[in-house]
């Protein structure tokens, strides 16, 4: 019982990684995703790995899964029909939304709001009202609620209901009563209740979080149950666990209650992998950079911890390529803080009507894909440009498993180059520069725009295409260290096995710091922790192995926004001081006004042993280049040494310009940079 499996289902590939906890050995499989029945691909990958390593299914003691299922249900609007039950007089807040428009929509005379997930006709107004202090202002009219719900269920086909009343974070009694009425009327319906899903104040985000839970809940729980059953049928010796948006592993039971936690599952795994790889290499402060087919993402790890945000948006339109102007539905749960831009390997390059070279956000995706894929794509993409520049090897794409055609890339890029009066190589170099400038925006958002100097950080690349671009990106910011982990193409799956089991809980109650009763605050935490400890106990963690973490949200009197700081024990003075400091760091002013405490957050962590694949191997001599090929260095095509990655062991250093290839990725070492391998066989690139 020593094997751990990580499974990451992406749009094109399903990555499976297996770690033997007895010796730290890692093996990986990459199989095509089977969109109609994702479990099929997963089972195939697992079978392949177990057979290769000579293990049996019962030896598996942990299975952790990341999935884009919930995200796709929302993006493609494929969730089931949901009804929304709310306080009478407030049935339109999902339709009104936050009255915010993206930058690109500002000048659009034909702008329309997205159709709401729940149309008004599937909204039920219930006569009840709770006050901000949790007191009942208008008692729940049980008969009115029952009649209105029965009428709706008779009239509308509904798969799930979301119940969200005003101030239910302070007193969820009315919500629970309504949930009971629904259970009496129709026991099989999925019901999400806001005071259970995420009882934090601000009605619109809480309502959206609850509605999205109801929207994806039935499909997600069915899928997870089916995968879990299949694993059991294959005699896998562990129950399925899931990567949550916050970078912690959650149980299938938690997913069923709060399925919206799956929305950022895959990206969270990527940042957790970066954090772990950094930790193994002794790097505590890093920027994770992931380059995919249509987008690039950047995340931040500080002091070994992935940065967490407490709100994010789903289902909106990306604006100006950067998902920055927040459109769509606000979701209030802890989430790994990520910036995403619409630029990746599949991004299409074109000349706009003013003659400027633009790259993305339109992407050729996986179908038809870049011109070089020979699947009917004719527009030049970033991947085509990288091929023309000699950075990619047409005979060794995905380790030679996928044939790509350099002549098609060349033809597509030549067409772009002609009106500019450039050679195809010069135009490809232009595409390379422009896409790097676009992707830089993601790094900028998580660093400079948060008041953080990126020069103090290491840039850690993941995703097959990132190694080609990452050193150039580092130059843009004056970053002096780049790390490309071994097997960067399956990085996210490694993150699944490098994360702890967590459970998060929150409570809102506004308490003035002046004359605060510390024991009342302590009581709130004690209550949250009791629930959390029981929850994580069900995952097999005993009280002496778990770690309890407290955080508190604080704001100045009458300010609209609070900040989250750690709370040690119940030392509120220390937390208030930390809040003053954080406020000064973010806003540049030192305030001494009295504060109030708003939200109380508890995270309980069940530690999981982390994989370590460090090697003691050392090489005395630098490896010999496998070959030389023309590649774009220093403004021209020049013969450049090409190395196979596995020949580079800890010890020696090779000087750029150079290209280092492996099965799932290619790394470009620019002139003036050096590359070496560390004990985890990560490539470390440094300028000068």
């Amino acid at each position: 019982m020593t094997l751990a499996l990580g499974i990451d289902i992406g749009g094109t590939f399903t990555d499976v990684v297996m770690i033997d906890r007895t010796d730290g050995s890692v093996c990986t499989a990459k199989v095509l995703t089977t969109p109609d029945d994702p479990a099929a691909g997963v089972l195939e990958g697992i079978a392949e790995l177990l057979a290769e390593a000579g293990h049996d299914p019962p030896e598996v003691s942990q299975v952790v899964h990341a999935t884009t299922l919930a995200t796709n249900l929302i993006l493609e609007r494929k969730g089931g029909p949901v009804a929304y039950v709310t306080t009478a007089g407030f049935g339109d807040i999902l339709i009104i939304g936050n009255e915010r428009k993206g930058d690109a929509e500002k000048y659009d005379l034909f702008y329309t709001k997205q159709a709401p997930i729940v149309p008004r006709r599937r909204t039920v107004d219930v006569v009840e009202r709770t006050g901000a202090d949790g007191s009942v202002v208008v008692p729940l009219d049980v008969e009115q609620a029952r009649a209105a719900l029965a009428d709706l269920l008779a009239r509308e086909p509904v798969e799930a209901l979301a119940v969200c009343f005003l101030h239910s974070y302070a007193n969820g009694e009315h919500e629970r009563q309504v949930a009971d009425i629904i259970a009496e009327l129709s026991p099989d319906l999925y019901v999400a209740v806001s005071s259970d899903v995420w009882p934090e104040y601000r009605e619109l985000p809480r309502a959206c979080t609850t509605v999205m839970s109801a929207y994806v809940g039935p499909t997600v729980t069915r899928y997870i149950a089916r995968l879990d059953e299949e694993l059991a049928r294959q005699e896998i010796g562990a129950r399925l666990q899931i990567m949550g948006s916050s970078g912690g592993i959650i149980s299938a039971a938690t997913v069923a209650r709060r399925p919206v936690q799956l929305v950022e599952s895959g990206p969270a795994a990527g940042v957790m992998a970066a954090a772990h790889i950094g930790r193994l290499s002794g790097i505590d402060d890093l920027i994770s950079f992931d380059m995919g087919g249509t987008t690039a993402k950047a995340g931040l790890v500080q002091g070994g911890q992935a940065a967490i945000a407490h709100e994010f948006y789903v289902g909106g339109t990306a604006s100006s390529g950067v998902k920055k102007i927040n459109t769509g539905y606000p979701i209030k749960i802890p989430v790994i803080d990520l910036a995403e831009v619409g630029a990746g390997g599949g991004s299409i390059a074109y000349l706009d009507s003013g003659g400027a070279l633009r790259v993305g956000p339109d992407s050729a995706g996986a179908e038809p894909g870049p011109a070089c894929y020979d699947r009917g794509g004719t527009q030049p993409t970033v991947t085509d440009a990288d091929l023309v520049l000699g950075y990619l090897n047409p005979d060794f794409f995905l380790g030679g498993r996928m044939a790509i055609r350099a002549d098609l890339a060349h033809a597509a890029v030549a067409e772009l180059a002609e009106p500019m009066g450039l050679t195809p190589e010069e135009a490809a170099a232009g595409v390379y520069e422009v896409v790097n400038a676009t992707m830089a925006a993601a790094v900028r958002v998580v660093t400079l725009e948060r008041g953080i100097d990126p020069r103090d950080f290491t840039l850690l690349a993941s995703g097959g295409a990132a190694g080609v671009h990452v050193a150039r990106l580092a130059e843009e910011f004056g970053i002096a260290e780049v790390v490309v982990p071994a097997n960067p193409g399956v990085g996210s799956a490694v993150g699944l096995l490098a994360s702890d089991v967590v459970t998060d809980h929150v409570r809102t109650r506004v308490i003035d710091s002046v004359g605060v009763d510390v024991s009342a605050v302590e009581a709130i935490y004690a209550e949250l922790e009791a629930v959390a400890v029981a929850e994580i106990g069900a995952e097999g963690f005993s009280a002496d192995e778990i770690v309890l973490e407290r955080e508190i949200d604080i704001r100045y009197h009458h300010q609209a926004h609070e900040l989250t700081v750690p709370l040690h024990g119940c030392d509120l003075d220390e937390a208030a001081a930390a809040f003053n400091e954080l406020y000064e760091q973010l806003y540049g002013i030192r305030q001494t006004d009295p504060v109030e405490f708003v939200n109380y957050r508890v995270r309980v962590v069940g530690p999981v042993p982390k994989p370590d694949w460090s090697t003691d191997q050392v090489a005395a001599q630098p490896p010999m280049p496998l070959s030389y090929r023309p590649a774009w260095v220093g403004g021209e095509m020049a013969d450049t040494p090409v190395y196979r990655r596995h020949t580079l062991l800890p010890g020696p250093t090779i000087a750029g310009p150079a290209i280092i290839e492996e099965t799932s990725s290619t790394v470009v070492v620019p002139g003036g940079w050096t590359a070496s391998a560390d004990r985890q066989l990560s490539l470390v690139l440094r300028p000068g």
Partner: protein
């Protein structure tokens, strides 16, 4: 509009450097903007993002700005920098100088919108200007916060700053800072805001020096010139695609803050000729006694906003975008007032400029016609708590936008030109902090202007005050005269305030009301104006009317009366026979 002479360009147009430098300049401006927001004291800025950072070249041409920067700000920075250069020629400027101004008659907006400019020297050459603008907390005048609805002169709106040096060669110009502080109710906050802007312009200067290092200053200027030419080229190409001709539009403002019953009209004749647009406002009403007048910069922003609605959205906003536009603004009118006319409620005129421009577009191309939309509505409730501490909150809300030629207007959203700010106020947050209870926040049934395409609905928000207090309401026009429909569509509902609706004490309050006393238990109903309809409502697809009835946007009675559609009371379906009878009348 005038343009700087383009340099003789020895190197060919470089489409790659253009895109990379455009990105780099935008990133610098964005970082400047965030520095301002982070350091600013003004809560409007922190919560609403009401600030802008921008970069100009050495000739005063506007080249880049922070994301989301409103055109109202950008249109003001441009002429304000020119005024600065008139008073302080570049030959006399030194590294470390910083200037400020806010004079609405020399490029500014109104007193509270303060601008800061820093000349950037690179290798002893004046290379760029970095600028910031933000709405400062208070600069004096007759009302705290600088928005007196009854002002009749700019002197009542706060301290006026012609271009003045804030720092000389890096040394703060203390006497000027002292004057500013002495004229504010919140001197620390105002000085903090100004320091935030100075910090942003300093940061921009450092980043521009790095960029010039990479390209060489001369080459960088060539590329920024290319960027402006590129923008001009794309803007002109967009205009050229429009049919030549002269088109007219007008819009009537229903209240100027001083005379609630006076009409004021904005009239525009828009001439498209080749790749140029001339907007001539001859025929616009004289400047108003109240504060609805728009400084030239603000009128310009309304015109540019409307023009950009006709062009590709990814065309950058910089000096090149202004070049094909010519404005003719008769002096002494709403759109180009003479001093000392008051200007703090300019949104009424700016939005009227936009509506008049959109009206002209509908002559140009009926497919692009848009019926009139809401304007912003805001109220303040305040009082003194049981603990003796004063409490107050401000709650801005929007209404519906106008119907289009092929679709309905948008329900409860920012009017087009505002794009809606980041302000995001929730009922739960207000109730935690203040003695109020919200009893309703819904789409306002039957408010959207009937038409073949319906206007977007306004909102209805009921606020009950639980302790004695006061109410100040600002409905920025479109109350007495609701947003009109177009091509046979009807007007949307006009906004307003009702006290204790449905009780014997029911009373309609004026659109602009200040410090109205409320007793504990009183309820204010806020109604935000709704968009006008497009086309004959009897031509509306009955199924769409039935859907509106199911979703509560239209009542069954209004379906019958306004649309000639009979909805079966039990099934909610259209009754085709009864509908045919009604519609044949």
């Amino acid at each position: 509009m005038d343009r700087a002479p383009s340099t003789t360009d020895a190197r060919p147009f470089d489409p790659i450097a253009l895109e990379v430098v455009k990105n780099a300049l935008g990133a610098i401006a964005e970082e400047m903007g965030l520095t301002t927001v982070r350091s600013a004291y003004s809560s409007v800025v922190k919560e609403g993002g009401d600030s802008t950072a921008a970069i100009f070249d050495h000739r005063g041409q506007f080249i880049a700005q922070s994301m989301g920067a409103p055109l109202m700000h950008l249109s003001s920075l441009r002429p304000s920098l020119r005024s600065l250069l008139d008073d302080f020629p570049p030959s006399g400027m030194a590294d470390g100088d910083v200037y400020a101004s806010n004079d609405p008659y020399r490029g500014g907006i109104h007193s509270n919108d303060v601008m800061v400019f820093r000349p950037v020297f690179i290798n002893d050459t004046l290379a760029f200007f970095t600028c910031a603008l933000l709405h400062v907390a208070d600069l004096g005048g007759m009302a705290a916060g600088g928005l007196p609805a009854n002002a009749t002169e700019m002197f009542q709106e706060g301290l006026v700053l012609p271009p003045v040096p804030l720092a000389v060669a890096g040394e703060p110009n203390q006497p000027i800072l002292d004057v500013i502080a002495a004229n504010s109710r919140t001197p620390e906050k105002v000085l903090g805001d100004i320091r935030a802007m100075m910090a942003a312009t300093n940061l921009g200067a450092d980043r521009l020096a790095d960029l010039a290092d990479r390209y060489g200053l001369e080459r960088l200027h060539q590329i920024t010139d290319e960027l402006l030419d590129y923008t001009e080229r794309r803007t002109r190409a967009g205009i050229e695609a429009l049919a030549d001709g002269t088109y007219t539009g007008s819009f009537i403002i229903d209240d100027d803050g001083v005379n609630p019953d006076a009409d004021h009209e904005v009239h525009v004749a828009l001439t498209i000729k080749g790749s140029t647009i001339t907007a001539d406002f001859e025929g616009t009403s004289p400047q108003a006694p109240g504060p609805i007048n728009a400084a030239v910069s603000q009128t310009t922003s309304g015109v540019l906003f409307a023009v950009r609605c006709l062009l590709a959205p990814d065309i950058p906003v910089n000096d090149g975008a202004f070049r094909p536009l010519e404005l003719r603004l008769p002096p002494g009118t709403l759109v180009n007032p003479n001093p000392p006319a008051a200007l703090n409620a300019r949104m009424a005129t700016v939005m009227a400029v936009v509506e008049a421009m959109l009206g002209a577009f509908s002559e140009l191309d009926p497919a692009r016609a848009v019926a009139a939309s809401c304007n912003v509505h805001v109220y303040i409730m305040n009082g003194t708590g049981g603990d003796g501490r004063p409490w107050a909150f401000m709650d801005p809300q929007f209404g519906g936008s106008g119907a289009r030629s092929d679709r309905d207007g948008v329900d409860v959203t920012g009017p087009l030109v505002l794009g809606a700010g980041g302000a995001f106020h929730t009922v739960e947050a207000y109730e935690q902090e203040h003695p109020v209870r919200f009893e309703r926040f819904e789409l306002w049934t039957d408010s959207g202007g009937p038409g073949q395409w319906r206007g977007g609905t306004g909102a209805r928000r009921d606020i009950r005050i639980l302790a004695d207090g006061q109410f100040t309401g600002r409905a920025t026009d479109r109350c007495r005269r609701p947003p009109p429909g177009i091509y046979g569509g009807s007007a949307g509902a006009g906004g307003g305030w009702v006290l204790n609706e449905g009780t014997p004490d029911e009373q309609t309050l004026p659109a602009k009301v200040t410090a109205y006393p409320l007793r504990a238990g009183d309820m204010i109903t806020m109604l935000t104006s709704a968009g006008g309809g497009f086309g004959d409502p009897f031509e509306r697809d009955p199924e769409l009317v039935a859907a509106d009835v199911r979703d509560g946007r239209v009542s069954p009675e209004a379906a019958r009366r306004d649309y000639g559609v009979v909805i079966h009371p039990e099934t909610g379906e259209v009754d085709p026979a009864a509908t045919a009878v009604l519609r044949s009348k």
